[in-house]
Amino acid sequence: MSGTDQYRGQSPDQYRGSLRYAVDIVMCIDATASMGPVLEEVKRSALNFPARLEADMAQKHKAISRLRLKVIAFRDFADHADDALQESDFFVMPGEADKFEAFVRGLSPVGGGDVPESGLEALALAIRAPWERGLDRRRHVIVMFTDAPAHPLGTPDARAAHTYPAGLPLDGDALLEEWGYARSQQALMENSAKRLVLFAPDATPWKEISEEWNMTILFPSTAGQGLEEFEMGEIINTIGNSI
């Protein structure tokens, strides 16, 4: 069943006839202890995000036919493997807002040890998410919130963890191929749909990713600043400006 077919069964499209736009957003959230001072702010902003996006789109007289949100919280496989990743399903908004809210409220800042963290594993999982493939146009956005650099993909310590996801790319080059580019032959992301928004330190690997990966924006963050009004606007811009 295509995403379009799924949607037809769930909600009427008040904008029938016009371009139908699907927006999927995966929020990768660093939930290590160092994020404690800002995690509540990130969570609050994440919960307010759907309403803010809807208001912004309405102001622009544009419509999103289908909005889904997914959260991947990450810590550090090398520090504590059991809760190194917490991954939700995609929640269709607004119908599953309660499930989204319950998942987000359940996140707590624990563990992580010293930096770096397992942010690249979270990004790899986000790239492999079951993105919407139907409707007329799609926007697939990954948003990374972290105050730390990340381990290289697949360090021996991480791979030794019993919770380490199977089949993840072995290194940064392989991850780039999964992210893709216009002519790539192995990409998992749809090139015209994807965006990666990094609220992360201007440090490895985020600095290099923002330089070499296409459709990627890095907004260098300082630990403790949280997801404030400015960042909300940046994320919404990545969605609303290109519809």
């Binding site: 006839g17 622009k60 007289h61 080059d173 330089e211 296409n214």
Partner: protein, 367 residues
Amino acid sequence: MKLGTTVNGYLVTSRPCNDDAGKCVWAFAERAGKPYFIKRFLEPKRPRPDSTASTRSQELRMQECAEFERRHLQVGGLLRQRHGEPGSGNLVIPLDFFVVGSTYYKVTEKVEVAEQGPETFDAQHKLVLLRTLGLSLRLLHAIGVVHGDLKPTNVLIERKPASAAFHPAKLIDFDDAYVSGEPPPPGVVGGDQLFGSPEWLRYMKEDPRVRRRDLTVRSDMFSMGLMTHHYLTQRLPSHDPAFGSPAEAVAEGAPLEFDPRLAAPMRELLGALASTDPRARPDIDEFLSTVKDTQLCELGPGAVPGAPGRAAGERASGGTPAASARPSRLRMTSFGTPTPPVPPTPKPSSPPARGSRLHINLGDDRP
């Protein structure tokens, strides 16, 4: 690109942001004491010099870059051919295009925008706005270039001294421009859902009845008609609320309803510009030959038309149409009191008065 850093000699003087930007980040910058607008493209990206990716991966990405450079240089070259002609100063064309590391940048002049938008204009100023915009479009269409994303946010009203007679419209953002009949693929072509044309909409939806060659300069003319209605009435034409945009309504054969306060000749012009068949739309010369009288830009008496839900360009709660509500570079302070002259229709093309100001640096130091 960060505030306070220098990119290829341009000092970034504002915090980079993506306001009103789909596939770039932009900021203001300075070089040799002059202000500029600098744009950092999100794609394509060159492989890093120290890339460890496969040879094939690097080749494919370099092919994308070559195509990107070819298209930008082609459109830029065509634009520069007409630079120096009357009205060309209102085309905000690239001054510099270069690559740093993996990333492409483009630089244009910085337009000092007025404080107030066109909603405050009287009929004379609206006429100047429409004509300066029309003259810019005529230059584009004369060289066979489709702007591809005509909408109010891509038109800046330049701030002039209070003594200036009028404030010209500056046409910006040629990143989605293409040679007439040769648009990018449906998944790549730019455009705006509210101001796009019916053939563009069908092309986007990959309607097999629409071919690449169907997207021509007449697609811009559909958008120009909608923008004209918007500038004159602060709203888009009304249509059956079952449709999400004027293009959708027209594509399905539903009529657009133009503000009855508009002068009859203007409504007639707008109706022709909204034709389903692109060939039936007036071209930019016909537009300019019609829109040359202040009376044509005046609104007659009567109530604002359009019941709730019927006006595609109006907020449900009233107020400023979204298209002019950006946080914006579109501002106007005040008008001079003299009657603004209508820009004359330029004579047929003459050789450019000055040479290219475009400087290309595409990383020749790369291996």
